[in-house]
């Protein structure tokens, strides 16, 4: 005999299965993102293994991928923020430039799952890649009409030329995921959600605070075309004030901890980053040979994308992209490529371009896959000249 409670439970389960199935069918982004993140993981692990076989690259376990900036995040997670500079070869370095949200996202893996710090950071970045793909798919959902287009769009994130950074304990995928969510919610006029995502974004990377500008543009656009109640206007204002909150709280913390609220900017002097004219930097890059010129071409591609976004009436994306290109460029071109390739507006424009010119897909994927595999080999070869 089955008790009435169990019978009711089984009836519910039986009934919910088709509901779940139909829900998954109507939200293919969820499983597409999962498939792509696993494929991306397999891709990076395979090429890392090739590098190990070929030239004894130091890749034995997943945590071995954690290098350079990941090491700085490790110091934040293990030791907290420095009280005064003492790191690096000259003793003038401090870990203040490495914003808190990404190491915080790795904390549960270390604390609850008892993973090593390095592995926690790598796993956190891989998990963030899933969020990055999913949020980007949701951002372009209205533009992708078929399952194959959804796969293509997700593939732009999962196999982008600089996808390596999603597997090595860097903050790029978390930043990308939060930026996509912020834009997605802004488009839906969910002001508080958009502002909250903006606040988290500004606590992930310094450039994240630029989202305030995009939010402002989105809000002004909405205010121009709709009659909004006083309460609605206050909500919009509250969302705007939320955008830089993550950075503001970090600055408060730094002031109490070190005495310098702008320590995360001032510490950049350690890496030789002093303000320059970004346009002069661009010209210099184009006049040089080899990688500098490649980066120069990427900078031009970034500016062209800004122009295209303006033409497409997406000023909130255009302004964001322009600002996040100009900010790192006003220091130098070092690491610029990864900043560009981990920007949702850039990949959004790329998706639209490739969607309208399908013949270009194989060419692009050939370039992206080749570049990504080359980056993995370079990374494990210990070269930080072009990767960092």
């Amino acid at each position: 005999m089955i008790s009435p409670e169990i019978a009711a439970f089984l009836r519910n389960r039986m009934g919910s299965t088709p509901r779940l199935k139909s829900w998954i069918e109507s939200h293919p982004e969820i499983w597409v993102a999962l498939v792509l993140v696993l494929a991306s993981h397999l891709f990076v692990s395979t090429f890392a293994k090739f590098a190990h076989w070929q030239f004894e690259a130091p890749y034995v376990k997943t945590a071995d991928l954690c290098r350079w900036d990941c090491g700085w995040f490790r110091s934040v997670l293990d030791e907290g923020y420095d009280r005064e500079p003492y790191r690096a070869a000259k003793g003038n370095g401090a870990n203040w430039g490495f914003m808190p949200l990404f190491p915080l996202s790795a904390f549960p893996f270390r604390h609850f799952l008892r993973l090593s710090t390095l592995l926690s950071l790598v796993v956190a970045s891989k998990c963030a890649l899933y969020a990055a793909i999913l949020s980007f798919l949701l951002m372009v959902r209205e533009r992708s009409s078929t399952l194959s287009e959804t796969f293509f769009a997700g593939g732009l994130v999962a196999f982008n030329p600089y996808v390596l950074y999603a597997h090595v304990g860097y903050s790029e995928p978390l930043y990308f995921a939060l930026a996509s969510i912020a834009f997605l919610q802004l488009g839906k006029r969910h002001w508080i959600l958009s502002g909250t995502a903006g606040a988290l974004l500004s606590a992930t990377r310094i450039v994240g605070c630029v989202f305030s500008l995009s939010y402002l543009i989105g809000a002004v656009k909405d205010l121009r075309f709709r009659e909004i109640s006083r309460e609605g206007k206050l909500l919009i204002l509250l969302g705007l004030m939320l955008c830089p909150l993550g950075l503001a709280l970090y600055m408060l913390y730094l002031y109490v901890h070190t005495g310098d609220a702008l320590g995360f900017i001032h510490i950049q002097v350690v890496w030789g980053r002093v303000p320059h004219n970004p346009f002069v930097e661009t010209l210099n890059a184009l006049q040089h040979h080899r990688w500098q010129r490649v980066w120069g071409v990427m900078i031009l591609a970034g500016f062209l994308t800004v122009g295209w976004l303006i033409r497409e009436h997406r000023p909130e994306l255009a302004v964001y992209l322009a600002a996040v290109i100009l900010m790192p460029l006003s220091a130098d071109t070092w690491g610029f490529a990864r900043y560009l390739w981990w920007q949702p507006p850039f990949l959004y424009a790329l998706f639209m371009l490739l969607k309208n010119h399908r013949w270009a897909w194989p060419i692009y994927m050939g370039f992206a896959g080749g570049m990504a595999s080359f980056m993995i080999i370079e990374w494990l070869a210990g070269s930080n000249r072009m990767v960092m």
Partner: protein
């Protein structure tokens, strides 16, 4: 009711941003930190190791680090085996900040060589509120003596250039090459007599 909550939150956030703006304008940092990280007029953080020396023994710029009587220096490029250059990229001033101020009669002895761009130009040397003008005519290293009298303890020796020196191919803007700088708590006539007597006693 909801409006009241929104207004309360907006007020709190405004308060947070005002506090942050105040903190940005008023950093609580040491002068060395300010010189190196904020004003970027110093090329070394903490200027390396410290060696024991008195003001009379001076700063030997060719030695790595600084003597214990110096807090920090600014406007100088990295040390080289012979000494240090002042670098216009770090500002139109170069200075030595003492750990403890000196008062009364002070003689500053400095062995310097001007860069070509600074030859025959008037350079201002200050110690506390006192100011002296020097024109360097020799293109080679030479010793210069400057007398100061400070009633209150002064702790900064500063070299001010009339303009920013032009850049050399490696990007540096060389002003003065300094071998050493010494501070004596007496006037320069006595100091020069002592040095002359020592030189006669040790002609080698």
């Amino acid at each position: 009711m909801k409006t009241a909550w929104l207004l309360a939150l907006l007020t709190i956030f405004s308060g947070v941003y005002l506090v942050v703006a105040y903190m940005v304008c008023r950093p609580k940092v040491s002068p060395e930190y300010r010189a190196y990280y904020i004003e970027r007029i110093s090329s070394d953080w903490k200027n390396g190791p410290r060696y024991a020396a008195q003001p009379e023994q001076g700063i030997v710029f060719g030695t790595e680090g600084l003597p214990t009587f110096v807090k920090y220096i600014y406007g100088f490029s990295a040390h080289q085996a012979w000494g240090r250059w002042t670098d216009g990229n770090l500002g139109k001033k170069a200075g030595v900040v003492l750990d403890q101020g000196l008062s009364g009669s002070v003689c500053l002895e400095v062995r310097v060589m001007p860069a070509t761009s600074q030859l025959n130009k008037e350079i201002t040397v200050t110690f506390g509120d006192q100011m002296k003008k020097v024109v360097l005519h020799s293109p080679r290293f030479d010793n210069y003596f400057l007398d100061f009298f400070e009633p209150n303890a002064a702790d900064i020796v500063e070299f001010r250039f009339p303009d920013t020196p032009p850049p050399i191919p490696d990007g540096q803007r060389l002003g003065l090459g300094m071998e050493y700088l010494r501070l004596f708590r007496e006037n320069c006539i006595s100091v020069q007599k002592q040095i002359g007597a020592e030189a006669q006693a040790n002609p080698g």
